[in-house]
Subunit: 373 residues, 2 copies
């Protein structure tokens, strides 16, 4: 059994495993969301990668997964060491404030003073030691009362990510690189992103939050008192026979809001948010253009091929092919192409159009294509 | 029952149904060659279209089909009125001189003085009456002793077809537009093709040959005496119990040569070839670019969709999709694209690269992809 890393004894990992990843349709879909795919090339799912990354920090006994009821079996199959007590099932998606907040509330009840670190189930990270070091600093900042996040040093002027503005250094024991944050900004346009990158003052928001559970709930209560009340009631009933009834009554009523808005931005405005700049490779693999880039090592001329049984024959072609069938896939003279071949749906587009995939999913939803969503 | 058209009483239609159509892979393949697909949008196979076009000319009882043994069942399923005596099965492909020559030899034995018209099983023709009128003239020219062909008036400077050069008018009763031919030319380069089109003296070679069977065999004997001898021996045994043995002995030994080289070009050089300019729409649907053009009405902005159960969702895309599955096919921002979706193979290319499809087939043949050829 993996033990928690020294100095992380109050740490608990939380993995919200929720989003479908619509921009990765038809690979990602309701019954096979993004976190259940091997997008990193590791040979295992992103969820499994995430588990492996967190286990050395908190220990396997201290990783909580918040996921949809429909994904319980798949998640447990992926994570055989996931403890029953650490499976939090959502009857329906209520966004990240509810998911992470519920984990915080349950854990705080079980273990007052716990420090939780929440990390998405479907991101790709390379550079485990640098990641661990960043979490270590974030843990120290959390211990000092901050809502801590880890921001990623931009490697390009990406327009697909949110940014965090660093306003100056903080003096926190054990977190020498921690910076104060004064604002979060939404996905910028290219010019703005270029300004951000050039300034050196901005980091990508990777959705990693590390905080004392009680502090996180306290911040949440400032902006979302109703949500907090619901979560506390859920947590109080959670480890009892009343759980089912309380979940059925309360969960569907909880406000849907991203934790970035309910906790992180207000904490930044209040001066209680710290960011640790992360120098590891990170990608949220938000669309097929990211996937192509991730697997081509950034070379535009390359064709990335994903899929265990892929049989691809390519001539003068680049981009990415995802093969979920045993079919022969032949590409001739197609550049920056995206081909996603699944048993019941086929997508052909280009990297440039990768963000539009979500619109297709929306169109299918209203046009009778639900069988492939 | 369809009766032969008045004035066509000695006419016999011959349909060589042989070529796979490798440039249309993975749609066309060994067990599903081009002539067994609906490429015209008629709702039936090209072979069936061809039958329907010829039946009014010769009558259904007078259409002979020359095809591979492997395709017998499919051909007979397509053409329920095809008479057993009119099915000529090749044990292996020996090119068009052997196929058409054998039909000529069999029919000449059965009915001396017969006039045969050979038309490919896998071309698309629109304008039935104009076609019939051209065949009527070709029949008259054949009756006068010419090897007659029908050439197509170029509608563009195509580089994918062979051309026929008209050297001047002929005076043939019943064939007022018949022209003498002095040469056939292979697929030209673009500049040459443009010169041909501008001159008005060239027609596309559509591989349609109309001739008295005895004259066709006579011309064949001048350049291919060995082939002719084999065909005569086959024909002599054909309607007897000796057919099988003679076929097994002789067919595999016959020289493989296109009838254009063995008969048409020599006849042109000798001044015994007549061409009737055809003003109907004709396409050999040689590759997916032709298929796209055929179905988009020539508009580059259109997306042509072929396939009975096609479920295609397209955004800002043009080209052609061939769907042989019930899968959802989603295209986003791909122009001049070619997507061919079959149960075991997928092709993604562009119109511009359509001619390269054959190279993929060749590559698959040597790389273990035989299962999808």
């Amino acid at each position: 059994m993996t033990k928690p890393l020294a100095g992380f004894d109050r740490f608990y990992s939380v993995i919200p495993a929720g989003g479908i990843g619509s921009r990765l349709w038809p690979l990602s879909r309701a019954d096979a969301p993004k976190f259940l795919h091997d997008l990193s090339g590791s040979g295992q799912t992103l969820l499994h990668d995430t588990w492996d990354r967190l286990a050395p920090l908190s220990g396997e006994q201290r990783i909580m997964v918040v996921t949809g009821r429909a994904h319980r079996a798949a998640v447990e199959a992926q994570l055989p060491k996931l403890h029953d007590l650490n499976v939090v099932l959502e009857s329906e998606p209520r966004d990240s404030s509810a998911a992470i907040g519920l984990a915080a509330a349950i854990l705080e009840r079980r273990e007052p003073g716990v420090i939780i670190g929440s990390f998405a189930a479907d991101h790709v990270i390379k550079g485990e030691r640098i990641f661990q070091q960043a979490v270590r600093e974030a843990y120290a900042a959390a211990d000092a009362g901050y809502i801590a996040t880890i921001g990623i040093r931009p490697t390009e002027s990406a327009v697909g990510f949110g940014y965090i503005h660093m306003s100056g250094p903080l003096e926190i024991d054990g977190a020498p690189t921690a910076m104060a944050v004064d604002k979060f900004v939404e996905k910028p346009d290219l010019e703005t992103a270029q300004g951000y990158t050039a300034s050196g003052e901005y980091l990508w928001n990777a959705g990693m939050f590390i905080a004392r559970a009680d502090r996180l709930l306290e911040e949440l209560g400032k902006t979302q008192p109703e949500l907090l009340a619901g979560l506390l009631e859920l947590a109080e009933a959670w480890d009892s026979t009343r759980r089912g009834a309380v979940v059925d009554r309360i969960w569907p009523t909880l406000p849907k809001i991203a934790i970035d808005y309910s906790v992180a931005e207000p904490a930044a405005a209040a001066g209680t948010l710290a960011v640790i700049p992360g120098h590891f490779d990170w990608d949220d693999v938000g669309d097929f253009a990211s996937l192509a880039k991730l697997h081509s090592g950034g070379r535009k001329s390359d064709l990335a091929i994903l899929g265990q049984n892929a049989r691809v024959l390519a001539d003068s072609s680049s981009g990415v092919v995802v093969s979920q069938s045993n079919r022969i896939i032949s590409l001739i003279g197609v550049r920056d192409i995206v081909v996603v071949d699944t048993p019941d749906a086929l997508l052909v587009t280009t990297s440039e159009n990768a963000q539009k995939v979500k619109a297709v999913v929306d169109a299918l939803r209203i046009s009778g294509g639900q069988d492939v969503l």
